[in-house]
């Protein structure tokens, strides 16, 4: 389980995160919703050690991973599937998956996980030798998720996986996210598509200007009038 305690982040002169607390218990999908610039991506980057944390702590299975190197955090079983997919355009689909497994040495298990990834996304299996740049947006997002899974994470963090995708593709991606959870991987999901996120979430946090303004089960937030008004457009 991941526990964030009183996390504060300063970006230049901006106080981007103002003492947030988030729990990601095992076997659950937790989502973080909120407007652009609320600090959602910063939270994930802070967990990965990509921004200098001013104060606060991130505990992963009761170990304090605050200030650890990104590489060691990945090694400990956390992976971030970044916003905008960020697949490597001049690497093949297969190589993109290999980069995901970069820190692993167990060749046999990697080969097996590669097959699992291709089973999960059959469209990628038809394109193993294609360069990342030649994939469609939806395929790139599938590749980004598959690449993240290649690290064999125990916590998968997804930053805006539905961004810029067609509704049908979004449905696909979200059903895969649920499958991933059923495989026993914890999921921390960031979404602007609040409805889709809350639908599959066990618990969710609403973020506003660097603070957690609301929290509750996915269902509870879906029916909360404030959430409906601000994030669901109802």
């Amino acid at each position: 389980m991941l526990a964030i305690r009183d996390l504060n982040v300063h970006y230049g002169g901006i106080h981007a995160l103002r003492g947030i607390d988030i729990d990601v218990p095992d076997g659950k999908i937790i989502s973080l919703i909120g407007a652009n610039g609320a600090g959602k991506s910063t939270t994930l980057k802070a967990i990965m050690g990509l921004v200098s944390k001013s104060t606060g702590h991130v505990y992963w299975d009761n170990t304090d991973i605050t200030g650890m190197k990104t590489k060691d955090i990945v090694n400990s079983g956390i992976i971030l599937c970044p916003e905008g997919r960020k697949i490597f355009p001049d690497l093949t689909v297969d190589e993109n998956l290999s980069v995901g497994a970069y820190l692993r040495k167990d060749k046999v298990a990697i080969a097996k996980d590669r097959e699992i990834a291709y089973d999960l996304f059959p469209r990628l299996a038809e394109r193993t030798w294609q360069l990342g740049a030649t994939l469609s947006g939806g395929e790139q997002q599938m590749l980004a998720v598959a690449r993240a899974l290649m690290s064999k994470p125990r916590l998968l963090m997804l930053d805006e996986p539905s961004l810029g995708l067609a509704p049908l593709v979004i449905k696909d991606i979200f059903s895969v996210i649920q499958k991933i959870k059923e495989e026993g991987v914890n999921v921390l999901l960031i979404e602007q598509n609040a409805k889709a996120a809350l639908d599959i979430s066990d618990y969710a946090y609403v973020m506003e200007s660097g603070v957690i303004s609301m929290a509750g089960s996915g269902k509870a937030l879906l029916s909360d009038p404030r959430v409906q008004k601000a994030y669901l457009g109802e």
Binding site: M48, T70, N75, F88, P89, L91, E95, S98
Partner: protein
């Protein structure tokens, strides 16, 4: 036959010099590919490799000296990266560029201090100096060895980049630092490996290059460094095959110019070539269109 008689020696010399430029140019192009930095100190690392050879050969056997020269260049290059470039990695690109120029002058001036500004005699390596005849032309062994050795090293390098894990990491990092580190790639290690390769090849190039000349002084790295840089730009900076091709084109072209009797202008010709390339195809032969990172 008359044509061959006249031109073969120049073409052979051009291919050899091209190979030597190629070995230097790879260092420029690879460092640029990953750091988007033109490592102005690269030509001076090349010069220092030559200088160290002069000192080592007085007490050590040839092969030991060559190995030590390569090691020296690698240590010098990676140390420069750690001290002068790494702390500036998040700074504006201009700062790291200025730092590179500073290191270049530092290396030149330090060489000036050590040598007292005198031209040192580069050791004559018997194997490389041996005379060989090819058809109507008589030339030195180094002229024959250089292109083959260059092609072999470039082939090995391309294999490394395309088919090994560290090569894959280099390709990933050259595109996207942040995502690469999110996947667990140690960026610093990849950058160090890049400098190891670039400086190692430049050191090998220095043995071949300086074998063609008798003397070496603190400014000896400037012109070949600049030519290799032009070669890298010509081929499309960031691309290894581009740099190698560019280097051979420049080496051959400049020797053909020499053959026509315009020796005085052979250097100028190279830079005119650069200007033309920049006007016609600013990204070079194999250059990427838009390489600015977000």
């Amino acid at each position: 036959m008359g044509f061959l008689h006249t031109w073969l020696p120049y073409i052979l010399a051009g291919i050899a010099v091209g190979g030597q430029y190629a070995l230097i140019a790879i260092g420029y192009t690879m460092v640029y590919g990953i750091l988007r930095l033109i490592n102005f100190a690269h030509g001076d690392i090349f010069m220092w490799s030559g200088l160290i050879m002069v000192y080592l050969i007085t007490t050590l056997p040839l092969w030991v000296s060559i190995v030590l020269v390569i090691l020296f260049a690698i240590i010098l290059g990676t140390t420069i990266e750690k001290i002068a470039y790494r702390p500036l990695r998040t700074a504006p690109r201009m700062s790291i560029m200025i730092s590179a120029i500073g290191v270049s002058y530092l290396l030149q001036n330090f060489a000036l201090y050590i040598t007292g500004g005198l031209t040192k005699t580069y050791p004559a390596i018997a194997l490389l100096q041996r005379a060989v005849s090819i058809g109507p032309a008589t030339t030195k062994m180094v002229t024959i060895i250089t292109p083959f050795l260059t092609i072999l090293l470039v082939f090995l390098l391309v294999m490394l980049i395309q088919h090994t894990k560290i090569g894959m990491a280099m390709r990933a990092v050259s595109r996207d630092f942040e995502t690469s580190s999110l996947m667990g790639i140690d960026i610093n290690r990849v950058i160090t490996v890049t400098f190891v390769i670039g400086c190692g090849l430049a050191a090998i190039g220095s043995v071949l290059f300086f074998s063609n000349y008798t003397g070496i002084n603190p400014m000896s790295g400037a012109m070949p460094g600049l030519k290799a840089f032009v070669a890298a730009v010509f081929g499309g900076i960031g691309s290894v095959p581009g740099a190698v091709l560019g280097a051979f084109v420049i080496g051959i072209a400049e020797n053909i110019v020499k053959g026509t009797g315009w020796t005085t202008f052979s250097d100028a010709f190279t830079f005119v070539l650069l200007i033309i390339i920049l006007m016609v195809k600013p990204t070079g032969l194999f250059g990427e269109k838009d390489i600015d990172k977000v």
